[in-house]
Amino acid sequence: MGVVIAKRVLGSFGAILGATILAFIIMRALPGNPARLIVGPLATPQAVASVHREIGLDKPIFTQYWLYISHFFEGNWGYSYADGKSVSALIGERLGATIELALFSFGITMICAVLAALLVTYRRRPIADRILRGVAYLGFGTPPFFIALILLIVFFRSFHVLPGPEGRLGLQASTPPAVTHLYTLDSLIAGKFGTFWSSIEHLILPGVALGLSSFSFIVRLLRANLLEVSREPFITVARGKGLRRWTAFRRHALPNAFLPTLTAGGLVLGEFLAGSVLIERVFNWPGIGSLVFDAIVKQDYAIVQTFILLSAVMFVLVNLIVDLLYAVIDPRVRIPAVATA
């Protein structure tokens, strides 16, 4: 098992190394002036020259690469030319909003996916099954920003049941004292239930828009796995020895069917990272996604470049964690002899 893990960890470092090289080639080594890209189209020639020197564009290419990654991993991410703040400060102050949205979205995605997959596989329900498969196809084939728009038109503009694109809280709710920077938890800690409710209300639409494509993927995977596992002989045995249908399902089918969906973890993170850029602006959600969106519009590329590299590192690490978890949980991966037998 040690060898398996060591190999996988090493592979992840290789992937991160490859990703930084690729990002370096795209951002720095290709034609165009990277310094101009960072300071923006309106900067003076002196400012361009100063950044040119700072990121080492006058040095040999290997030194440039070294400076590029050492700056990145030291957290020296440069400054936004639009408002002069450091990129790390800008990302830091918006992290809470993005994490809260992502956690909420992940939560409802998983709960809905498990419930929906159970509903259509526990007993044969052909109609519900068709509907679910249709939803999964549509959810996978629709850009998240379009879903966001439809949700807003239906639930905000037509039926007025949920708040519109006004960020994390309604106008009458005040920001709770910052403890975790997640408004839902902070308001509970402060005992302000009105604020709590307001923050939940504001999370629902962006959460659904962000999670729908992941939901589609997971529910398809889970449904297929549940159908397959429930036909396995060990389920027949479990039923044969007198377990009730639900117990056999819960104890034997569900854990086995759930295992492969772990590997969707990396995919979900990728969807969330890209999705936050696509939908946060639609809801005026003050997170990293809308920071990056605005930075793209203003051509404030220090922020965009940091976000891109940061995404790659997180993506690789999450995929690594998922794989390691898989190895811990699944004996067929843990013990190679079983896998080949």
Binding site: A19, F140, T142, N225, G270, V297, F315
Partner: protein
């Protein structure tokens, strides 16, 4: 992705039965292609999404030519009009006909996505084929390069490419194509490895065929079904990716009527009641991508019943 030794049940499928050494001629390949296409057209589940895509293509080709308004013709007096008989999809904030823009957007989306798909398939397919047939150092180098691409969430790498190369529809297309390359490369590499281990390849060598000939006559034709399945799926992603990049302002620029860019333009109007500016291009995206992914899945069921995707 696990390669070779999965299951050699390909012989169960009439469309994919490996040709024995008795009949290694081109006739076998074209006969198989004819059988596969007949099977595709007689299957309603494939014929429907295929017909939708064909209709979309015809629409994209002919609607911009035949429609009475141009996509950039402004008519400020008639701005923000709801759908009517003269403007079936209404007009936008500058009085431009949304239907004309929708049709032009269909042309742009389908054309660029097709180019992206073919380019990605050619580059990725070639890399996969070389890695899977030549092997050795080139295999290792190619696969590490593919790992570097896969280390990014797909859309974010495409964003990086457009930021690095300069904003625009062309760079967005390069970005989306680059993202799709490793999927083809990995898939076709494992296919090449699998096919190479089949007995009839050994037999071909035994009767004195050269490696180049074996690859051309046997390995490549056997990889085509998997390649087509992947291309259908990749086409959907390409449409989606291009629209997403345009939506955030990295792809097509104003006033190009690309679907994603149109949704951005209509966004603020949607919440004040003028829903038609954004909704129609969005529905266009939805239909295109869903048809492509349905087509891909049905083809997979039919042509590749042994694959690890067949369960989905």
């Amino acid at each position: 992705m696990s390669s070779g030794p999965l299951i050699l049940g390909a012989g169960d499928s009439p469309a994919l039965r490996p040709q024995g050494p008795v009949e290694p001629s081109g006739a076998g390949v074209s006969e198989r292609a004819r059988r596969a296409s007949r099977a595709i057209l007689s299957d309603r589940r494939i014929a429907v999404p295929l017909a939708v895509i064909v209709l979309l293509v015809l629409f994209a080709i002919f609607a911009p030519i035949l429609w009475k308004y141009g996509p950039d013709r402004q008519d400020l007096i008639n701005s923000l009009k709801s759908p009517s008989t003269t403007h079936p999809m209404g007009t936008d904030q500058l009085g431009r006909d949304v239907f004309a823009r929708f049709a032009d957007g269909a042309r742009i989306s389908l054309l660029v996505a097709s180019i992206v798909t073919v380019a990605g398939a050619l580059i990725g397919g070639l890399i996969g084929l070389l890695a899977g047939t030549v092997g050795g150092v080139s295999d290792g180098v190619a696969m590490r390069a593919m790992d570097a691409i896969l280390a990014f969430p797909p859309l974010i790498l495409a964003m990086a490419v457009t930021v690095g190369l300069g904003i625009g529809l062309n760079t967005a297309a390069i970005g989306v194509a680059l993202v799709s390359v490793p999927w083809y490369a990995r898939l076709l590499r494992s296919e090449a490895l699998r096919i190479r281990s089949l007995p009839f390849i050994e037999a071909s060598y035994a009767i004195g065929m050269t490696r180049a000939r074996v690859i051309r006559r046997h390995v490549i034709p056997h990889m085509l079904p998997v390649l087509f399945i992947q291309m259908a799926a990749a086409f959907g992603y390409a449409v989606l990716g291009l629209a997403s990049l345009s939506f955030v302002g990295l792809g097509a620029q104003v006033p190009t009527p690309e679907w994603g860019a149109m949704i951005t333009e209509g966004l603020s109007y949607s919440l004040t009641g003028q829903w038609w500016i954004s909704i129609f291009p969005g529905v266009g995206l939805l239909i295109t991508v869903t048809a492509a992914s349905l087509l891909s899945d049905r083809m997979r069921d039919l042509l590749d019943p042994r694959g690890e995707y067949a369960r989905l």
